[in-house]
């Protein structure tokens, strides 16, 4: 894993160096995906609920569903995805170098990443914030009591930066224990190398179920940052950027219109013009350069955002996370997709 980190960074660097002038630098991802016949999607190395292989080795999760939605839209088949597991450190170079077509791996949208890495964020599929997990034995009930603590974090994340900010702002000291993968981070926490594990709060719930004894740890109430997580593409390929953006929007619009994978065929027979446009019976059929049924395929094969949420991180999953701020805008949350018309 270690070798891979540097290898992929080095490969990215080399590929940037060697790609010939003007050639295919930010080529046309859509036609390359179509001709390959599958989508290469960057995911995490294993984060339950977001991107995690199940017992049979099939990738599952909220972030994985974005990959599947894009494959359904572009190739008409949500199963035509190949996954590249990436640590936080590897992810951007993998995307920049063209190793993957889209990165869907609990990645926070920040100014630096958007502006100087040559990348574009295609929306937000989960609004998160950073939190702390401690062992119950520690007897701490607030992050303000963590002065002097040793903190396990994953390298190359916004988490590392927020942590430093938070402790400095509150005049507290800490010892950062930095690991490459979430598995190592969890192991470090379990072995007592650190008092606290910090990460995006949703991920804390996900990592907690990876502990040998999940009951022994608790998540503190404080949320110390904004972590809007979303899929990322290379800058300079607007057609592809639009496809990823609207694949996510289609899932959100489907939820708003009450569509699910089970009822979409039935509902399509109705007269609601919004639904008719979404399933491709009317309206801007070829706008994205895809089949008119692109959004129908997403809903049919992957489901609406609500379905994906419940199945992966919501009450239908071991994480049991509330919709909270991730509810639709008309249900008290932030999720708001522009209309399909």
């Amino acid at each position: 894993m270690l070798k891979k980190t540097h290898l992929s960074a080095a490969i990215a660097a080399v590929s940037l160096v060697l790609t010939t002038f003007g050639a295919q630098a930010e080529g046309d991802t859509l036609s390359s995906v179509k001709s390959k016949g599958f989508l290469q999607c960057g995911v995490s190395t294993g984060l339950p609920g977001f991107s995690n292989p199940d017992a049979e080795g099939n990738w599952q999760g909220l972030d994985v569903d974005v990959c599947r939605a894009v494959a359904a839209a572009v190739l008409g088949d949500a199963t035509k995805v190949k996954y590249t597991p990436l640590t936080a450190k590897e992810r951007f170079t993998a995307l920049q170098s063209g190793e993957i077509d889209v990165l869907s791996r609990n990645t926070t949208w920040t100014l630096t990443r958007d502006a100087s890495l040559g990348l574009n964020f295609a929306g937000v599929n989960y609004y998160d914030g950073q939190g702390f997990m401690v062992s119950k034995e520690l007897g701490v009930s607030s992050a303000k009591e963590l002065d002097g603590a040793a903190v396990c974090i994953q390298s190359g994340t916004t988490t590392e930066l927020n942590l430093a900010d938070y402790f400095r702002e509150n005049g507290m000291e800490y010892t950062p224990i930095v690991f490459d993968t979430s598995d190592q981070t969890v192991k470090g926490f379990e072995a007592g190398r650190c008092d606290v594990l910090t990460s995006d709060q949703s991920q804390l719930y996900a990592l907690r179920i990876k502990l040998a004894d999940p009951g022994s740890a608790m998540v503190l109430p404080e949320v110390i940052s904004k972590e809007p997580l979303g899929p990322v593409v290379r800058q300079g390929d607007d057609a592809w950027f639009n496809i990823v953006k609207w694949s996510l929007n289609a899932m959100l619009n489907a939820e708003e219109l009450g569509l699910t994978s089970a009822n979409v065929d039935e509902m399509a027979k109705g007269t609601n013009p919004n639904i008719r446009r979404l399933v491709g019976l009317e309206g801007p059929k070829e706008a994205l350069g895809l089949e008119p049924t692109w959004a129908y395929n997403i809903v049919k094969q992957v489901g609406s955002y609500a379905e994906s949420f419940e199945r992966n991180v919501g009450t239908g999953s071991p994480l049991a996370i509330d919709r909270g701020i991730n509810a639709l805008w008309n249900q008290g949350g932030f999720m708001y997709a522009p209309p399909i018309r």
Binding site: M1, L2, T5, H6, A9, A10, A12, A13, L16, V17, L18, T19, T20, F21, G22, A25, E26, A88, K89, F92, T93, Q96, T112, R113, A115, S116, L117, G118, L138, D147, G148, A149, A150, S155, G156, E160, L161, L163, A164, D165, F167, R168, Y174, T175, P176, I177, V178, F179, D180, Q184, K187, G188, A191, G192, R193, D195, R234, Q235, G236
Partner: protein, 397 residues
Amino acid sequence: MSSLPPGSNSGLSLRKLWFDPNVRSLVFQLIAVLAVVGFFYYIINNALFNLEQRGITTGFAFLDNSAGFGIIQSLIEYDESYSFGRTFFVGLLNTILISALGVFFATILGFIVGVARLSDNWLVAKIATFYIEIFRNIPLLLQIFFWYFAVLRTLPSPKQSLQIGEAAFLNVRGLYLPKTILEAGSGIVVFAFFACLIATVFIFFWSKRRQMLTGKQFPTFLFNAALMITVPGIVFLLAGSPVHLEYPELKGFNFKGGLTVIPELAALLIALTVYTASFIAEIVRSGIVAVNKGQSEASISLGLSKTQTLKLVVIPQAMRVIIPPLTSQYLNLTKNSSLATAIGYPDLVSVFMGTTLNQTGQAIEVIAMTMGVYLTISISTSIVMNIYNRKMSLVER
């Protein structure tokens, strides 16, 4: 020239020039240099073009931006408000620290094991062989994980630390030792310490030369030890004990104060030492075996003890064989220290090529700087060892 027939024109002399081996080699070298320069020019231009096309920021301006992340161990002052440029030096010093410590301990252990392997004592020789075969053949990364995850992780929590009095504590978070705090007026003590240190070096060489010339021996070790203890000690007392120890104390979750050896450093150091020592041991053994047997037989028959024979006759000659491969072991150790990132020891690769690269996204700049460092370390180690090697071979008669 004048002897040439009038018909000989410049064409002929050009041809002659072309077949002149000196000119030819010059031309070829010129072409080679041009090709290399052109190649790099092309590559660099190409990279810049591609980066710009993709909207990726280039240049070294990022080194001035504040880093914003913490680092667990730093030999220079550092906190998250320092710049990315500073993280380069923090990482670099941590790499140098682990390499220097590793080279030091691996050399000692390697020599002991190498000599032990040739011991007449069956058990000692077998243990040494066993050691070499085991540690040389297990991948280093595995050994690092072994020490870090299997051994050091079994240590108790801070509250149940193993302790020596109230001074030293050992737990899963590291080894906590008292630290010397220098107060006002301590300068003279430090000065006395270093003065004695320099004196011991002189005494060492002086006694060696005297022994060479006159055969008279001098108890160098005892004398130097006494010197190092008494003189700074007396100065210390006379100056009114201006140095005191700061003891680590359990405050809140962790120990504060004192000196901390983090388990990441310990695990990496043990693994690098043990692994590299097994190679050094073989090098030492082959060096010793390469010394003609007659040499030690002669030395024994002259009445030198076994230890003396080894120290004065065999090892000095073996050094000539030992040094070149030893150099490459030192270089290997330095490069292997970059496996640090697997367990989170904050070396150059982990801090700079890991976190800094990721937070700034400037892969090419960061990788180039990192490669530059390893190249520099390698080349300077080679140079130093070459100089030493040359000095050693002059001893040959």
